[in-house]
Symmetry: C2
Subunit: 200 residues, 2 copies
Amino acid sequence: MPKLVDHEERRAHIIDALLRSAASSGLHSVTMRSVAVEADVSVRLVQYYFDTKEQLLLAAMTRLATRMGERVQQRVRTTGAATDPRGIIEAVLLEAVPTDEESRAFHLIYTEYAVLSVTDPALGGRPFLAAPDEMEAFLAAHLTAAQEAGTADPHLDPRQEAVLLLAVSAGLGLSVLLDQRTAEDATAVLHYHLSRVFPG
Amino acid sequence: MPKLVDHEERRAHIIDALLRSAASSGLHSVTMRSVAVEADVSVRLVQYYFDTKEQLLLAAMTRLATRMGERVQQRVRTTGAATDPRGIIEAVLLEAVPTDEESRAFHLIYTEYAVLSVTDPALGGRPFLAAPDEMEAFLAAHLTAAQEAGTADPHLDPRQEAVLLLAVSAGLGLSVLLDQRTAEDATAVLHYHLSRVFPG
DNA sequence: GCTTTGATGGTATGGTTGTACCACAAAAAC
DNA sequence: GTTTTTGTGGTACAACCATACCATCAAAGC
């Protein structure tokens, strides 16, 4: 063999090019050529590492889903009080609100994939089904913990409240993406509601 | 002149074909040809009534936005108690949760347009900016009315609460579209939260 | 009765897209 | 030192798309 190339690294490089390309002009305008140009490789190489466009899109979606998990986890970690239920819940939900350009691009592509997966059977949106399910259980568990610790309103139904929080987070995030609201407004509304769930 | 055709009717017929086509295989897969086939006319006719594809897509978006307004209004009207603030608010918010196939298709295309308008400058999502703004004012006004009538919790901030309700509605609707939740679950969660806003 | 004009069909065209094919270099294997 | 094998480039190809162009038919105007 010649150059002895690290396949995973090359694949990551190309996927990143795809994400950059999608961020600027939309997932629908991504082509083999545009990805190749952005990655500064030949179209042939993109084919070489991802046989078909469908597989490339699929790989990018998987990477996106992974990064989403990492993002949430890192949010929780960097939030000082790593054991305070309210802090954790707040961190998780705030992740859905895009603040800087990078985060905005990330959530835009994620949303584009989610919507696309509804009609495109090849994408079969597995990440979009599993992730929110885990999230819901996660939130419900921490809400229960908070209730037992006395910081959350004991009258709340943790399970319904978790679903509600997830919907609020997604809805606010989407409205920021659509430029209907500023990130600051969305954050304020989220805090407003959290103050109701965690009184005092 | 020959057949003396009603242009608006023809345009509506073609736009409906586009919406049907988009509902089944996604807005991204809509082509002049697919629309022509679905409308059972020649491609040339589609060109005749909508010069360019961009204009066709734009016209369909406008029609969609109009229909959305009508839908909400009709929901409010058919909801018996047309003067009860809670009933009105509930009706408006429930409209975003797709129940039957028709409503699901409608909201799917609407969402696809919304997401597309972020990256496609030609679509310049005016409907997606104006509509939620009006909605927010509408909800806030009715919340205030409810507070004065004593049916809504007087401690609530009508404006923040309105934004929150809109986000909940959009978030739940999206999760139903993505098959993360059933329409029944989403409706239940919405009712759960409304019971908090309107106690008693 | 001719002429204009609105409505329609068919088809050509230029561009783009995903993918298949051919070629080649360079290092590893033996 | 020859033979594989792996990475890479270039290019050709078939499909498809939006759109422009040409033709036609029928009714309205005069």
